[in-house]
């Protein structure tokens, strides 16, 4: 959060620490290294104080004894140099721009954009800075939102624009910028009972067309698959500022479960900043494995990849609760998955007239 944002000097100092670790090792006649937390499900732990999952104590040392790792270290140094230069000149760049700029870095240039994203993430983790501190912007597309929520966004000219996300926007809703921190977005007012996060664009549009935001007094947010950082951050800010529950409405498949986990508990890739991104009070509304049976929904057979993913989730600490274990095991037993839009089997209005009201009622949200 911006209140905790680091000063230029602090950022540069922590970045230099990364270079110093390498230099110190070489002075001792040892291969240069970069120490990182292990970024896998085996190293995420529940942080009781924060209520989210954070990286544990397991560390991995990336050392220059293999060509691949050595290249990573060299790239990290180039990125550090690049960030420090941007900080000095008060510029910022997108990750994609940095990827192209790296063309001029000789041996340190990136092979793929993914590599540059990963290095930026590595540096965030090691330095405990956020990429906003690094003046690096994501490419990611912010989500869309519709509902009776009023915000102010500071526009390019530096003016605060007041926007009601129901009355001042078209059918495509309000588009979230990549930065949703208070310096950019202020939360002004609302008249909603809850926030509903929706996985697919098709279902988001269906609910908008059926006027579900007004009928159910909620803010609809389209997640666009695995939600971007700004989407998760915005959900968290709205939920915590206004004290509104978050209901996640997704497909019924292993990937949807992961989307939910990243919203509620924190994603494995960004566990270093889970406390900024995760909303522990989120609820998985549906579609659940038992919905498939209860509503007799058209379903597809699980693919081998699905089964593999479900089995991996069984040992993921974020899904260790008995509810999740039951859901996952049930899915494995049935061998079936279903899409949100399968509800259209009973007509276009079934989802808003029957399914969602019934599901929301379970959580005390009556329409």
């Amino acid at each position: 959060m911006m209140s905790e944002a680091k000063s230029r000097e602090e950022v540069i100092e922590s970045l230099n620490q990364v270079a110093a670790e390498m230099h110190d090792k070489m002075l001792k006649g040892q291969p240069p290294t970069m120490t990182l937390p292990v970024r896998s499900k085996t190293n995420i732990e529940f942080n009781k104080k924060l209520g989210v999952y954070k990286y544990g104590k397991k560390q991995t040392i990336r050392d220059a004894t293999s060509l691949g790792s050595a290249r990573q270290l060299l790239r990290a140094l180039h990125v550090i140099d690049f960030i420090e230069e941007m900080i000095d000149t008060a510029k910022s760049s997108t990750l994609r721009e940095m990827y192209y700029i790296s063309e001029g870095w000789g041996l340190g240039k990136f092979g793929t954009q993914n590599e540059s994203n990963n290095i930026a993430e590595d540096l965030e983790i090691v330095t405990r800075c956020m990429r906003e501190d690094f003046k690096l912007r994501p490419e990611e597309d912010g989500a869309r939102m519709i509902g009776n929520v009023t915000i102010e966004e500071r526009n390019r000219r530096g003016d605060w624009m007041r926007i009601n996300c129901r009355d001042d926007v078209g059918d495509s809703g309000y588009g979230l910028p990549y930065n949703v921190e208070p310096e950019k977005i202020r939360l002004i007012d609302q008249d909603i009972d809850f926030i509903m996060a929706i996985e697919t664009g098709g279902m988001f549009d269906r609910l908008v067309e059926n006027g579900f935001d007004e009928a159910a007094r909620c803010a609809l947010i389209h997640l666009k698959g695995q939600p971007a950082r700004s989407t998760r951050r915005m959900i968290k800010r709205m939920s915590e500022t206004w004290g509104k529950p978050v209901m996640v409405f997704a497909d019924c498949d292993p990937w949807s479960f992961r989307i939910f986990a990243s919203i509620a508990y924190g994603a494995i890739k960004t566990a270093h900043i889970s406390e900024y991104l995760a909303t522990p009070s989120s609820t998985y509304l549906g579609i659940t494995a038992d919905d498939i049976l209860a509503y007799d929904l058209p379903s597809d057979k699980l693919t081998p990849k699905d089964i593999e993913a479900l089995k991996a989730e069984l040992t993921d600490p974020r899904f260790a609760t008995s509810e999740w274990q039951d859901q996952i095991n049930m899915m494995l037993d049935e061998g079936k998955k279903a899409e949100q839009q399968a509800l259209a089997k009973y007509g276009l209005d079934f989802v808003t007239d029957t399914y969602l009201p019934e599901k929301l009622a379970e959580y005390g949200l009556s329409i």
């Binding site: 230099n16 270079a19 110093a20 390498m22 230099h23 070489m26 002075l27 006649g29 040892q30 291969p31 240069p32 220059a64 004894t65 293999s66 060509l67 050595a70 290249r71 270290l73 060299l74 140094l77 180039h78 550090i80 140099d81 420090e84 000789g106 041996l107 340190g108």
Partner: protein
């Protein structure tokens, strides 16, 4: 055989004459033509240029005209009818030599098949150097008389080669026949490709033309060497492996007056001592006339042959392709990552000299990696296309445990799988086939074992190659790491922090922590030598000492020209150098050059070492295999020495005047001895003139040894096995 039955005979036996199916008939026809061309060229020491064309005839089902043309000597007009017009059955019994023509019935068979299936004649055009014009004629067969029927005989100036240039000498055959064109493993194309692999001195052009004039298949296999194969020589039969029937026939047909002379002159490998012992053993009077020997006596002689110690038959009558040329032939026909070849030393089985050669291509990109490897079988330079399963050559391949060499072999036996080709060539004066069809080599333990040994050797090469490739890639990465990335990290980190750059040497040692070998073989166009450089980098914290061994092509012509470190020959094809101790962080170098090889004869070496630890990019020498090779070499040397002593002893027995040396007459008789060679009196005199060091007018034992080993005497026929 009754003359009237020749066409009947052909009809009845077409399955083993190679004319049983329409697909096979065309291959057989091409084979007869190509064999003839190759043999004629070889005999006249001409580098063969052979063109094969198949033309589909329009509006006729299964009708193809086979056209073959060569640059051979041509056939003199008086012989053409004989060559093309009469079937010569029966083997040339007294001629024992490695020939292509052990299969099929020759070019007359093509004329016969053409006539039987189309009713047409075969057109033959022949040009010999000393005549100004070519002779053209159409030949048919009078099957009753077993003679040629010639028509349209004419002289022509219009005989051109594939470039449209008038032919100086050569032969062209155009035979229409009922046949089916096909592609694939059993096709004319494949047959010719295989032929070109084992005849690297030949250029073979092939084209198949559809009935609408479109070319459906075409390639040119250029020769990769200008060296003609060593002429094959015939030898006399060796008593081992002789059957009673054959012995009786030899006895009956002999014109010798005495059994003692019969034994010495009819066979190879029977020195005077062995002749005496054989006859004594068999209780046969040396003075008996061969024609009067009874069947019982003959049987006793045969038994005696197996108890008396005989000399081995000569093996230099064989004409192997030699591994370098196989390698070249293989490389030109398929693109691949790796080729290994082995030519085994000649060996003897049942009195028949034989020699085995194998080749292995690995990493072909043109075939799927999960199929069975391609097996290419050859007997005396002739491709074997059929009956792969029942062939000894295949069985030998199946018997090797390929898994250990890195080829997949489901169930641990059978033909291995992979993007590879295995070639096996058996050269022998007497290739035994399983049947008259002569497509599969019959079981023979000695041949089998030789093939296995050769296959295991190429297998070892493959294994080393794969290990080395993997290690090389790894080493390459490490070199890139310490030479490029690490210095860049150091520079960047130092400049970010404003600190001095650290000393990287200890870091590099720490990262590499190994000894690396780099090697390369390059061709120096100017000096016409192959240069080999081997560099051993010691990236460890302590000094290292090694002996380095490197593979090089050891041939009659290859010689070391630059080799500062000296070293010594370890075994055939392996040289060994002792390297000075290499301190940490430094490298040891070996450089040497070899003269006398053609460009591309040598592209890469294999490096081995003696010493502790590992060297990445080199293998620890397998002392056991080295010992095995050394033992084989020793045995071979010892055997050769024994044989030569035996031959010399026998020759010196002819010193009837006890002068201590052989005069021309005695020398002549001596050469009639164990090797059964007839030496002209003038040659004998010449040999004496040349090698009579002490001017005694005779050759003593030592001088005779020199004479039999000298090259000039080889040309005069002394110590060699000339044609009959």
């Amino acid at each position: 055989m009754k003359q009237a039955s020749i066409s009947e005979f052909f009809e009845k036996n077409k399955h083993f004459l190679g004319y049983d199916t329409l697909q096979r008939s065309i291959i057989t026809a091409v084979k007869e033509a190509v064999d003839n061309s190759l043999d004629a060229c070889e005999e006249h020491r001409i580098l063969p240029d052979i063109t094969i064309e198949l033309r589909r005839v329009p509006n006729k089902k299964d009708r193809i005209i086979m056209v073959s043309q060569d640059n051979g000597p041509g056939i003199p007009s008086k012989s053409i009818e004989k060559v093309f017009g009469s079937l010569l059955f029966g083997s040339r019994f007294h001629t024992i030599r490695q020939t292509r023509g052990q299969q099929g019935i020759g070019i007359t068979g093509v004329v016969m098949y053409s006539q039987l299936t189309t009713g047409k004649t075969t057109r033959v055009t022949s040009k010999i150097t000393k005549e100004a014009t070519a002779l053209k004629m159409d030949i048919g067969l009078d099957t009753k008389k077993n003679a040629a029927l010639v028509s349209n005989r004419e002289r022509t100036h219009d005989f051109l080669d594939y470039n449209g240039i008038p032919v100086e000498h050569g032969l062209k055959v155009e035979a229409p026949m009922k046949a089916k064109f096909q592609r694939g493993r059993k096709s004319v194309g494949q047959y010719l490709r295989m032929t070109s692999i084992v005849n690297p001195h030949a250029t073979i052009r092939y084209r198949a033309i559809d009935d609408n004039g479109e070319i459906i298949e075409e390639f040119v296999a250029e020769r990769v060497t200008d060296r003609l194969p060593r002429p094959v020589r015939s030898i006399k039969p060796h008593p081992h492996g002789l059957e009673i029937g054959a012995l009786n026939r030899l006895l009956r047909d002999s014109t010798e007056r005495r059994m003692s002379l019969f034994l010495r002159h009819t066979f190879s490998g029977v020195p005077m001592r062995a002749m005496k012992e054989t006859l004594a053993h068999a209780e046969v009077d040396p003075a008996t006339t061969p024609n009067e020997v009874s069947p019982e006596e003959a049987q006793r002689i045969l038994n005696a042959f197996n108890t008396v110690r005989l000399m081995a038959p000569p093996t230099d009558c064989l004409s192997p392709i030699e591994d370098l040329l196989i390698k070249k032939g293989l490389s030109k026909s398929v693109d691949s990552a790796f080729v290994a070849t082995v030519t085994r030393p000649p060996n003897v089985s049942l009195g028949n000299p034989f020699q085995v050669e194998v080749g292995l291509i690995f990493g072909r990109e043109d075939v799927p990696a999960d199929g069975a490897v391609d097996v290419l079988r050859f007997a005396n330079r002739v491709p074997l296309m059929y009956q792969q399963g029942g062939c000894l050559l295949t069985k030998a391949i199946e018997s090797v445990s390929w898994k250990g060499y890195g080829l997949e072999q489901p169930g641990g036996k059978g033909v291995p799988k992979g993007a590879a080709t295995i070639l096996v060539h058996l050269a022998s004066t007497n290739v035994q086939f399983t049947s008259e069809a002569k497509e599969a080599v019959a079981d023979n333990e000695e041949v089998f074992n030789e093939i296995r040994l050769a296959l295991q050797e190429v297998g070892r090469h493959l294994k080393n190659h794969r290990k080395k490739s993997a290690q090389k890639a790894k080493a390459q990465e490490k070199f890139e790491l310490v030479n490029e990335i690490l210095p860049a990290i150091s520079t960047k980190a130092s400049s970010l922090l404003g600190r001095d750059e650290p000393d990287l040497a200890p870091v590099i040692t720490r990262i590499m922590n190994a000894v690396f070998c780099e090697d390369e073989v390059t061709w120096d166009k100017e000096a016409k030598v192959h240069r080999c450089r081997i560099k051993i980098h010691n990236y460890t914290a302590r000094p290292r000492a090694y002996s380095i061994l490197a593979q090089y092509p050891e041939t009659d012509t290859a010689t070391f020209v630059e080799n500062e470190l000296g070293g010594r020959r370890e075994v055939k094809g392996i040289w060994c150098w002792k390297l000075d101790t290499i301190p940490p962080g430094e490298a040891g170098n070996i450089e040497f050059s070899i003269q006398g090889l053609e460009h591309n004869d040598w592209n890469a070496t294999e490096v081995f070492f003696r010493g502790s630890g590992d060297i990445i990019g080199a293998s620890k020498i397998d002392e056991e295999i080295l010992e095995q090779i050394r033992t084989e070499e020793e045995i071979a040397t010892k055997k050769a020495l024994e044989e030569s002593n035996m031959a010399l002893d026998d020759a010196m027995n002819h010193d009837v005047d006890n002068s201590g040396g052989l005069d021309a007459e005695e020398l002549q008789k001596a050469m009639m001895g164990p090797i059964g060679e007839r030496l002209e009196h003038s040659d004998a005199e010449e040999a004496i003139a040349q090698h009579d060091v002490d001017d005694s007018g005779t050759l003593d034992r030592k001088e005779l040894l020199d004479a039999t080993q000298s090259d000039t005497s080889r040309q005069s026929g002394l110590g060699e096995w000339g044609d009959e």
